[in-house]
Amino acid sequence: MRTIALGAFAVLATFACGGNTTGGSSAQAAPADQQVLRINDGTDPNSLDPTQQTYTYEAAVGRLTFQPLLQPNAGLTDVQPAAAQSYDVSSDGLTYTFHLRSDAKWADGKPVVAADWVYGWKHFLNPALAAGYVDPFFDQTIAGGSGYSDVDVKSASAIDSYLNGLGLSAPDDHTFVVKLAAPAGYFKWVASLWVAIPLRKDIVEQAAGGAFPSTDTTKAEAWANDPKTIVGNGMFKISDYTAKDHLTLVPSSSYWGGAPKLQKIIYYFISDGNTAFAKYRTGDLDMLNVPIANVDVVRQDPQLSKQAKLYPKLSTFWMTYNAKETPLDNADVRLALSKSIDRDKLTKDVLKGTDTPIQSFIPKGMNGYDSSLGDPQKFDPAAAKQLLQKAGVTAADLSKFKLLTRDTTGNKTVNQFISQQWQDNLGANIAVDVVDSKTVTSRIRKGQFDIYGPDGWGADYPDQQDWFDIFTSAACHSLNWGCVNMPGYDALVQKADSTKSDSDRNPLYKQAQKQLIDTANVGFIYQQAEYNLIRPYVQNLTITGIDDQYIPGDLYYHDVFISKH
Amino acid sequence: MATLLRIEDLKTQFFTSRGIVQAVDGVSLHVDEGETIGVVGESGCGKTMTALSVLRLVPDPGRIVGGHIWFRDRDVTTMDPDQIREFRGNDVAMIFQDPMTSLNPVTRVGIQIEEAMTAHERFSPKDALGRVIPLLQRVRIPAAERRKEDYPHQFSGGMRQRAMIAMGLANEPSLLIADEPTTALDVTVQAQIITLLKQLNRELGTAIMLITHNMALVASICSRVVVMYAGRVVEEGPVHQIFKSPQHPYTWSLLRSVPRVDEVRRSRLVSITGLPPDLVRLPPGCKFHPRCAFREDRCSEEEPPLGEVDTNQVARCWVLMRNVPQEAARELEAVTVPHDVAEELKSMPDLEEAADGS
């Protein structure tokens, strides 16, 4: 089954590691009927309504049909205008005013007005719909948003009063104003998430068969069940969709930035890695994410090796220790475990060189990365044994623990290697415990595990704030599965989040990162990278560290084109 | 009368993991047009296998390895599959011992008879359909038009045997081979079947080769008898001649082992000691010598040929019963089958319409 970035965690649109572009614009374009890009998206999106999409393979569809206000620039250093021509922030950092493009149109030609944005965001923030990405990005930032979880979803009036209390307004057709509860330097990135999009009230209600109370979620989502009523403000629109088979996108003629060069994008939903690999090799796919087991096959193939490239991602993987299970509450024990994993061997042999070892938290290529901090967790079996002796813990004490593993082949392979490492280097027999995925989630939420992994993170937006809030005590049993006691860490992160200027915030985040590494809250093991095959005739593809694992460059398809071949 | 069937030195063997079973070891016999002959011998003497060889129905792992089977002027052993298919059921038909299992349990009786005819182009499907009921009536099955729709399990044993006979006669074959037709039936039904066969022979002129181990049956229906032992013919001749003066000790013992119900004589039935020989490891010389009370040294060395012992009577024996002194024979006294009894059986009145269908 498809593994989402091996660590089976959500890799979300995040930060730059320096975009790079394939081919050049100088190549001659192939005729119009060949301007088709065929990609394997892996799994069907759960819904075609971007506000309900939570995984990147879903967002790969959402981003092309609906365009948020802003989007990350190619270098991922800052945001750039998208649906909004420009935006300005009030001096107290509480009011964001987005100036919408006058020539922005919906796919059916109607102009996009500010009221559509208000309606779209309110649809997204409707508690009855329970969209996955509201919390914490929107309800904790937008004024009047914090009551999101206390709203009685059975009463329409309660929902309406909550939605009307939000700091969203449209002074005129081309200005969309968002008021925040507190200053948040990172809100520009929140506004670039694919979930923050405008919606057409008339289309939603027409699909629902007339106005409907905001508690009736089935009617609220009726428009999303039929590709024909998916009318977005994006570059593309959906021409046809067969569940579990394929989805075809064609250019939206009324897009403000001019119709894209590609005449058709076909997303296939092939969940079997071997089948997708065969489809690429029989010329039916234009790009492919190579499964680990086939990396050597590609490297040894004369043609394929030329088409393959390694794209580092901004995601870090680690082993999570449950502090409730003594002696895992002892930092020395956690350090010993982290120091007895040979990361070079793991990445070179087991992961076939597609990932890079890391001992620190923020991934390389993102603001805040600092490899020098990583020394305490460096691979050093002798030191690891000494740490155990110092902590008065024997290998037998550790042997009662189990390594909780999600049931994917990738996880099982990595964990069996790590379990063997602990056996070889510490003499501890920590058995691999493979468990059905849903059961794993329910166990880690209740803290019923010893060691769990490989766990990992890719930021929702390229700001350190989103990385460090994972390990706060508030997040215990929700993302912070280990609940390691970190004195002073919460205060440090809280202070860093609320200061505006980077020069003040970075040292604070660095101190927090050092604390994480030194006390081995988790055992960092590797930074992920994707080994992708891309046909030589795919020109102008801009690939960044935040793209979806299967679809490199899915942020900037406007200028991509197929050259003569 | 012209000879209908001539079997010349037939050899049929079974190639089993235990070795080669010589089931039929050089058998020669003939059947004339309209004649009724009996082929007798204990079970395992090769009589059934001889019959099956005539229709080339020898089951795996058996095969005909030598000799010829002449039917009028054609040699069955060299027929190709289509000729054999045309030959079976048309020129020569065969009915089997156990009526319980010889009919297809899942097809109606009428259809099983009809298909015997349509298999050979002699009757068009419409004619075939029309002949089914008369055939059933001819074999004395009451309410034929209703019974032909029944399935075999709705027929009694006797009724099924009659249906088999009707099936055999469907194409008016020149020869009907009946392999132990009455063994599985009780005595009263046996008599009906035998009478039926006698009538069919008389009315249709169908030659009958009756294969049985029941000497009384042979006496009552056959004109000539062939006695087989260990896969070969040991004696052959007209029935009354054989019954009056059997020359081969085996034939003699067989006749002595037939109990007579009507005659009260205190005498010991002669049962032949031992069992038929293992056809894989046959004894040297005369195959019967280990069980023969009158053997001489020669018998165990050399196998006697089938020599003329009387007009139209041959036997395969060095000693022959006429050379055995009376007292020796009497010592193994047994009830003889008086000639009159044989006649009496032969002239059994035709049973009128069988009252019920049992």
Partner: protein, 343 residues
């Protein structure tokens, strides 16, 4: 009914009575039997739903736990539970479900928000059904044909080939067989033909897209039916009535079809019933490897993602299909073997 007594004189005393009751009485008995069996489906379905419902709620993990990364906050989970009625007591949910099912409302899928389970299944089933029926049309002739030939030519080369094929068919799982087909008839064929042709490795289409999936789907059942037919035919070959059939001079085709096969059908038909049911409700493996947009995957996906309405709908669907398949088998028994009475 064939006309009676053409020319032949009717047996004395027996009236040429048409058998009034027989055919229609059997027809009536049959209709009654089928009706009763359909009624019996109600209790069967009730227990199937009861068992599935209980197990579903006992299984660890909730539908809202995400496979990885950021989990839904407690408030959102609470909202979802209310939205889908999971906040009501279990027994009430069960009764509500029974009520809805009797009105053919199978509820909303948790996985694919806003889409009803029945719409999802109805739109996807034709793909699975096409594959299943085509595979079945391969299995019956190939399986029975191979089995009969292997039995008739026992211990010959053809018998050993059939035995070898059926063992291969069973000992290699179909995802490996499917992928080997893809490698050979997809990738290798593509390279050999210099990129002009290869069997399509994925997707559904009423064309050469069907070849590999149907063959992969049919491989194991064909192997099983072949061996079953061979064993059953071997038993029948030894029966006396087969020798009688040969003795009548029937052609080999007639002997095999009417006398041998008709008697060896019972075990074959018995196995074909459930086989058809499994085929028509889809194979998760074949549909994953060949990317067929059918319902095969829904069975497993529903359980792994704890999509309760989909779990119940797929289980009920299969239960109905297999109950009907077995009913057809029981009816066929009577037509195949007259001695078997309708219970």
């Amino acid at each position: 009914m064939a006309n009676t007594a053409i020319g032949g004189r009717p047996a004395r005393g027996a009236l040429p009575v048409r058998r009034l009751l027989a055919p229609s009485s059997r027809g009536a008995a049959l209709a009654l039997f089928v009706a009763r069996r359909v009624l019996w489906m109600v209790p069967v379905l009730f227990f199937v739903i009861l068992i599935t419902f209980t197990l579903m709620h006992l299984a660890p993990g909730s539908p809202w736990d995400k496979a990885g990364g950021r989990q839904l906050s407690a408030s959102i989970v609470e909202n979802l539970n209310t939205r889908y009625g999971l906040d009501k007591p279990i027994w009430q949910q069960f009764l509500l479900y029974l009520w809805n099912v009797t009105h053919f409302d199978f509820g909303l899928s948790y996985q694919y928000q806003g889409r009803t389970v029945s719409a999802l299944l109805v739109s996807a089933w034709p793909y699975t059904a096409t594959l299943g029926v085509l595979a079945f049309c391969v299995i019956v002739p190939a399986g029975i044909g191979l089995g009969v030939v292997a039995a008739l030519r026992q211990n010959s080369r053809i018998d050993y080939i059939a035995m070898g094929f059926s063992t291969f068919g069973a000992s290699v799982p179909n995802f490996v067989v499917g992928m080997l087909f893809i490698i050979v008839f997809g990738v290798m064929l593509y390279n050999i033909t210099g990129g002009n042709y290869s069997l399509p490795v994925s997707g559904f289409g009423l064309d050469d897209h069907l070849i590999m999936p149907v063959v992969t789907l049919a491989l194991l059942p064909t192997a099983f039916i072949a061996r079953l037919t061979r064993a059953s035919t071997l038993d029948i070959l030894r029966q006396d009535y087969v020798r009688t059939a040969w003795a009548k001079g029937l052609s080999e085709r007639l002997v095999v079809l009417k006398h041998i096969l008709k008697n060896s059908l019972i075990p074959i038909v018995t196995a074909l019933g459930p086989t058809f049911a499994f085929l028509v409700t889809g194979s998760v493996i074949v549909e994953t490897v060949f990317v067929i947009p059918g319902i095969g995957r829904s069975f497993v996906e529903a359980v792994t993602s704890r999509d309760y309405p989909m779990i119940l709908a797929t289980t009920v669907l299969f239960s109905v299909v297999v109950a009907i398949a077995n009913l057809v088998v029981d009816v066929l028994y009577v037509f195949i073997d007259p001695r078997v009475r309708l219970t």
